[in-house]
């Protein structure tokens, strides 16, 4: 299912509840190492809950979450970050009254500070020269686009194998959206698996390898991104809507 690639992350029959509310219903995902996978769906369909389940902010009631062959669904968040999962949170969520550099340091929080910290910092600075210019500025004073760069940079500082992105295009100007998606592809080419929740389905499908469609907590469709773009249901529900919104 993951195109013959070794599996990075799996959901096996995951059910998640908020109180009585059944949010994820028997969900299965298979993310191959090195893929860009996007998760499409309307409001309140379980996209954000998927991200929270991966990061350990909510625990599944039943089912298994497996990362690189090992169950992680009972592990604390810090342990998951240590193993190589880093988030780019919805609306960036930088620490507004810490400098850009300190935000990047927080990304590397679970790692020992050594020579590889400087390497990773250089990697971030070379991807985002703007971030280097702003390193001593309070993160809260940056523009939305700059904040997004720091948020992605912060995730990279964890030296992750998998980055989970929640709405990376939200609140960004079209120019920045395009730049952000370019960067996501670059990062992916460096070997990082990307799992992305995105409202901008047209944009997301243009760079993704595969996609899942969630509807009221269930996976109703999955397949290669190219097929998804042609799929009538997806066009009606997500692409059409986006084009109208863009017009």
């Amino acid at each position: 299912m993951a195109g013959g690639l070794p599996l990075m992350l799996e959901f096996r029959n995951v059910n998640t509840y908020y109180g009585d509310l059944h949010v994820l219903k028997n969900v299965n995902y298979n993310l191959g190492a090195g893929e860009i996978i996007c998760l499409l769906g309307g409001n309140a369909c379980g996209k954000s809950t998927t991200m929270k389940t991966i990061m350990g902010i909510v625990r599944p009631t039943s089912g298994e979450v497996i990362f690189e062959g090992e169950r992680i669904d009972r592990l604390p968040t810090a342990e998951r970050v240590k193993r190589g999962i880093a988030p780019v949170l919805e609306a960036r969520r930088l620490f507004p009254r810490m400098t850009v550099f300190e935000n990047l340091e927080m990304g590397a929080f679970t790692r020992k500070r050594g020579a590889d910290f400087d390497q990773d910092l250089e990697r971030v600075y070379s991807l985002f020269p703007r971030v280097k210019e702003r390193r001593d500025q309070m993160a809260g004073t940056l523009s939305g686009g700059e904040q997004q760069m720091v948020a992605i940079g912060r995730a990279l500082m964890a030296r992750p194998k998998l980055i989970c992105m929640d709405e990376p295009s939200m609140g960004l100007s079209p120019l920045f959206v395009e730049q952000t998606f370019d960067i996501i592809q670059q990062i992916n080419r460096q070997g990082v698996t990307i799992f992305m929740v995105e409202q901008n389905a047209a944009m997301a499908l243009s760079i993704a390898h595969r996609a899942y469609v969630l509807q009221t907590g269930q996976v109703v469709l999955e397949g290669p991104a190219s097929e998804m773009r042609e799929n009538e249901h997806v066009r009606d529900a997500y692409l059409g809507e986006m084009q109208v919104a863009a017009a």
Binding site: I57, A91, R97, M98, T110
Partner: protein, 309 residues
């Protein structure tokens, strides 16, 4: 005494009192910054600090009567007493958090705050029942050598208070700004969910906040005893309320704000005592609090809404 000397004298006294209030205010502000919890048990951690210090001093043979020490013995006694008091109070704070507050983590509303009021009463009553309700003499072994400026004087003791407060507050500031755990504290205060997803152990951050705040309260309790030469089970309320006011005045959750608020409260208390009458000190302090909150609801250095967008 000329009117200038009088003003200078009260300024010196106010800075000394203010340093004590600032140390105490920091505990309120650190915990509030991270948990948005007003920790009323802090009042009596401070009070217990004065009792611990008194106990340690009595182990050195200092109690009741005035025994003066000089040179190395003086420094040694002060340092040991301070260290023991701060560690004991720090651990008391951690214990309070672990036993009474952690089980309530995630419970919405004022439950945790009410719990801290309960803990505060338990602490003061335990001290009253075990140590007695009467006021105790608190020995001060520091000789009253003073620097004279005109007729105003600055005692060695006041220099010690300033130096100690500067070191402790500087240390705290350095820790919060530079250390990894300090940065985790700031990150947690600004966005707890995001900090969690960076891999920060939020329980450890909260424990650190309680330890540091309570240790500083212990230092303040020691200073209180030395300054006023007495302690009793009830000292936490008045001093605690003024220090809490200092934290709110400076902008609760803001560390430099608590320092400035503390100094301001100390100065007001000293000046009011001199020029209006000591009985009016609280009236003036709390009127000023109301005035500042009406004009700047977030306090002098505070921010109104946390920027969480």
């Amino acid at each position: 005494m000329s009117s200038f000397d009088l003003l200078l004298q009260q300024f010196v006294n106010g800075l000394s009192l203010g340093a004590m209030y600032a140390l105490l205010a920091l505990g309120f502000t650190i915990v509030y910054g991270i948990m948005e919890l007003i920790n009323f048990s802090h009042f009596n951690v401070f009070m217990i600090g004065s009792f611990v210090a008194m106990g340690v001093l009595s182990l050195f043979g200092l109690s009741g009567q005035t025994v003066l020490l000089h040179g190395f013995p003086l420094v040694g006694v002060l340092v040991v007493t301070l260290a023991v008091t701060m560690i004991a109070c720090g651990m008391l704070g951690v214990g309070i958090e672990r036993l009474a507050l952690r089980p309530l983590r995630g419970v919405q509303g004022p439950m945790a705050m009410i719990t801290t009021i309960g803990v505060s009463y338990v602490l003061s009553n335990v001290v009253m029942l075990t140590m007695g309700a009467n006021t105790k003499n608190f020995p001060n072994p520091i000789p009253s050598v003073a620097l004279h400026i005109g007729t105003a004087q600055i005692t060695v003791f006041q220099f010690i208070i300033w130096a100690l407060s500067a070191v402790l507050m500087g240390g705290l500031y350095f820790f919060v700004q530079r250390s990894k755990l300090g940065k985790a504290m700031r990150a947690t205060a600004q966005d707890p969910d995001a900090a969690l997803m960076m891999g920060v152990d939020v329980n450890r951050v909260i424990m650190t906040a309680f330890f540091l705040g309570s240790a500083l309260a212990g230092a303040a309790g020691f200073i209180f005893g030395l300054y006023y030469n007495f302690t009793n089970f009830g000292i936490g309320f008045t001093a605690g309320l003024r220090a809490f006011t200092a934290a709110v005045l400076g902008g609760i959750g803001n560390i430099p704000g608590a320092m400035i608020g503390g100094l301001l409260i100390g100065l007001i208390e000293a000046m009011a005592g001199q020029y209006i009458g000591a009985k009016w000190a609280d009236v003036i302090i709390f009127s000023l609090l109301v005035l500042v909150l009406v004009c700047r609801p977030a306090g002098l250095l505070g921010r109104l809404a946390p920027t969480k967008s």
